[in-house]
């Protein structure tokens, strides 16, 4: 079975992290975003993953070679010469997708959830039509495009963009399974699958919706990345509580890489991910943060709702809050206050940033 992952462009929304590493390789809860998806696909029998990328990255290629070996599957990069939208990449990869008549998965690369691939296969086989899209419930449907479908069968009737009057609270979750027949609908040109392909399929009663159980988050920007982390850690609490760290200095769901060191009199959590080789000195308070591999946090600092990029270094008595994102190898000097700062890689910060801004 095959899967196509729509990786797309530079991942600018997740800058400054994506200035150092292609978005699929950014660590989410101590594992590259892409591997969360790929590993779940492998579990349901996918043996060939195609990444649709609109830019080339040597780092991505090399990492995918490693993963091919580790997972024993094939990973291809399908490179768009020009951005092809969300449908065009299917046409570009047509030859690979048509190698056999099995249905294939298509995924947006920013989605984190309990991937329901097994259920999708079963559901898709059961209705026997061209496509299945996963939908998830949202609180404020007026902000999204919603999906209207028959409750019993899941047959999609229509899509409504940003509805002002309530018609549905289910939105497209960015995960699909298609039969190869869908490829006849798509030309090799920039095309939106949501706007141009799905409505036609719905009209012809070829598209079904399957509701996602459990959490779902598009982690394409820092604020949502942190929210997604909280949801993911909560699901780890339910399914694999032994992965989480416990002890008098840990509060709630905290993931600590075995190679990380945490000092005395700290208070870590809830909702914290600490990466490989991270050092947290004594008396540090961290809540709702991701600390990436190799970072160093000096004593008595206080961090809330931050992403600390790889190999960054935070001084003593530093306060970081309000979705401060540090790129790779950023140094924050002692006793500073950063409020919602977005710091580009390799910067040394020697003055406080009391109001949110970008530090070039």
């Amino acid at each position: 079975m095959k899967a196509l992952i729509l990786v797309g462009g530079y991942g600018t929304r997740l800058r400054p992290l994506t200035l150092s590493v292609p978005k699929p390789l950014v660590d989410f809860c101590n594992k590259p975003i892409l591997l969360h998806q790929v590993e779940a696909l492998v579990k349901v029998g996918v043996n060939h993953v195609i990444l649709a990328v609109s830019y080339m990255s040597q780092m991505l290629e090399e990492e995918m070679k490693k993963q091919e070996e580790r997972l024993g599957i094939r990973i291809s990069l399908s490179h768009e010469k020009e951005p092809l939208g969300t449908a065009g990449p299917l046409a570009l990869a047509r030859q690979l997708l048509e190698e056999n008549s099995d249905p294939f998965f298509v995924l947006n690369s920013d989605v984190i959830c309990d991937f329901p691939f097994k259920d999708m296969m079963r559901f898709h086989k059961h209705h026997g039509k061209e496509g299945t899209i996963v939908v998830t419930k949202v609180e404020e449907p007026s902000k999204y495009g919603v999906v209207v479908y028959e409750a019993e069968t899941g047959r999609i009737q229509k899509f409504v963009e940003k509805p002002q009057v309530f018609v549905s609270n289910k939105i497209n979750a960015g995960m699909y399974i298609f039969s190869p027949k869908i490829l006849d609908r798509i030309q090799l040109q920039p095309t939106s699958i949501e706007k141009e392909i799905f409505p036609m399929m719905a009209q012809e009663a070829q598209l079904y919706a399957m509701e996602l159980q459990g959490f779902w988050m598009d982690i394409g920007q820092p604020k949502d990345f942190l929210t997604g982390m909280c949801m993911y850690l909560q699901s780890v609490r339910q399914k694999n509580p032994e992965w989480l760290h416990s002890g008098p200095e840990f509060v709630g769901n905290v993931l600590v890489h075995p190679s990380a060191k945490v000092g005395k009199n700290c208070s870590i959590g809830p909702n914290v991910t600490i990466g490989a080789d991270v050092v947290v000195e004594d008396g540090v308070r961290i809540k709702r943060c991701t600390i990436m591999k190799g970072s160093y946090i000096c004593s008595h600092s206080w961090l809330e709702s931050c992403i600390i990029g790889w190999r960054s270094s935070i001084g003593q008595w530093v306060r970081l809050e309000n979705v401060t994102v540090l790129g790779e190898d950023v140094i924050v000097n002692d006793e500073l206050y950063l409020n919602g700062a977005n710091v580009l890689p390799h910067k040394t910060i020697s003055e406080s940033v009391p109001e949110p801004r970008i530090i070039m």
């Binding site: 009199n265 208070s267 004594d282 008396g283 308070r285 008595h300 206080w302 306060r319 206050y337």
Partner: protein, 422 residues
């Protein structure tokens, strides 16, 4: 023999020092660990032949002042009395009203100084200067050099280059007059009262000449600066002694932190015993730090530079304090961080809380720069200043209080930035 008068003002003055002046008369606010005017008294007590120090002001007699007088008299072994004006009489009116008290015993000269200045008090040099510039009946004012812009906020002195005779004096001019400014520290002979008396009598004859905001001007209200010095200038009686030593006004709470820094630095020579030094088992001290002997400081804290910690203060593990004054009874809990702030009496700061202000120091690259006279608001916004916690304020754990002023007896429950919290 000599005397000294310290003009301490009254409760209606020093509003820029709120909310700290709610709890203690401003002249008793601790600067570098001791009451502001103790620095004056100590300097006076070191002048040979100094027989008495008089505090003149319009505070109601109060316990804090009485207690201070008792302790200071014991410590400096000199009589110190408080003379209470019946109303705010101005810098000249107060001493004129109490001229008999000042002149009793027949001093040949006396110092007059404003309480809200911090200085090296070069009193002996002023006496020397008076002796050596020829006329022993002359009046001497202490002058300092300011930069052109800031000079406009002070009394400006034009002096004759060779003799230092004051040729012209103007208070807070609107255009540049001179970069030599009045420090509010004077050496007078009893003859000064004739000159103040002239103003007094003139005011009595023409009491409504100058209207103040109330539409009424008390004849006894006399200002040394505008009423006396302006008239004295150019008559061969008033001279300026220029000092290069440190000097600053203490108008706002922000300037108290700056003044503390100046005095703490001076302790290196004048009172090394008041400064804390690094010991193997103890807090890390950076620069000049004063710690009251009764304070409890955890060995893992880092203090300084320019930190004064008052009586009975408790500082927990892993606390950081820099450029701040911690008043008596305050509690700083573990991992908290206090920068550019004044923490009021019996206030408490929770774990990992951050209390931070913006320093309002003079430009360090200009040797003549002074504190800018701070306005609380600019363009309708609170100007970033030091953070001040009034008496008995409680800051919860993990919040930040930035550039804010918290009035006494408040229990905060969240972070605040750039606000006055009533």
């Amino acid at each position: 023999m000599l005397k000294a008068v310290i003009l301490i003002g009254g409760p209606q003055k020093g509003t820029r020092f709120r909310p700290l002046s709610f709890e203690v008369p401003k002249p008793l606010f601790p600067v570098a660990g001791v009451p502001m005017i103790q620095h004056h008294i100590e300097a006076c007590s070191q002048v040979p032949n100094m027989k008495e120090i008089l505090l003149v002001g319009f505070y109601q007699p109060n316990e804090a002042l009485n207690k201070f007088l008792v302790v200071a008299q014991q410590e400096f072994k000199i009589p110190i009395r408080y003379l209470q004006e019946y109303a705010a009489l101005g810098t000249g009116g107060g001493i004129y009203h109490f001229r008999d008290q000042i002149l009793s015993g027949g001093p040949e000269a006396f110092f007059v100084m404003n309480a809200d200045v911090c200085s090296e008090f070069p009193l002996l040099e002023m006496l020397d200067f008076q002796k050596h510039q020829g006329d022993t009946h002359s009046f001497i004012m202490l002058g300092a050099t300011a930069n052109r812009t800031q000079s406009l906020n002070y009394g400006c002195i034009v002096a004759k280059a060779d003799t230092q005779e004051v040729l012209h004096y103007v208070e807070k001019p609107s255009t540049f007059v001179s970069n030599v400014i009045n420090c509010g520290i004077y050496l007078f002979t009893p003859a000064i009262f004739q000159h103040i008396g002239e103003v007094f009598h003139r005011n009595h004859q023409q009491p409504f000449l100058e209207e103040n905001i109330n539409g009424w001007q008390r004849a006894e209200m006399i200002r040394l600066e505008q009423d006396v010095f302006t008239a004295l200038a150019g008559h061969g009686r008033l001279y300026v002694f220029k000092t290069d030593g440190f000097w600053s006004q203490i108008k706002s709470a922000g300037s108290a932190i700056y003044a503390s820094r100046l005095y703490l630095d001076r302790y290196n020579t004048s009172h090394p015993e008041r400064l804390t030094h690094n010991q193997t088992e103890g807090p890390i001290i950076k620069g000049n730090v004063y710690i009251h002997p009764t304070a409890t400081i955890h060995e893992s804290t880092v203090l300084g530079p320019n930190v004064s910690i008052g009586e009975g203060v408790t500082v927990g593990a892993g606390v950081r304090v820099r450029e701040s004054i911690i008043l008596h009874g305050a509690v700083l809990q573990d991992h908290s961080c206090v920068l550019n702030s004044i923490v009021g009496w019996d206030s408490s700061i929770g774990r990992w809380a951050r209390v931070e202000g913006t320093p309002s120091d003079p430009n360090p690259n200009d040797p003549h720069a002074k504190m800018d006279s701070e306005t609380l608001f600019r363009d309708g916004k609170l100007t970033p200043s030091i953070t001040i916690l009034g008496c008995n304020v409680s800051i919860p754990p993990e919040v930040i209080i930035l550039n804010s002023i918290v009035l006494p007896h408040k229990e905060l429950t969240r972070s605040f930035k750039n606000q006055i919290i009533l």
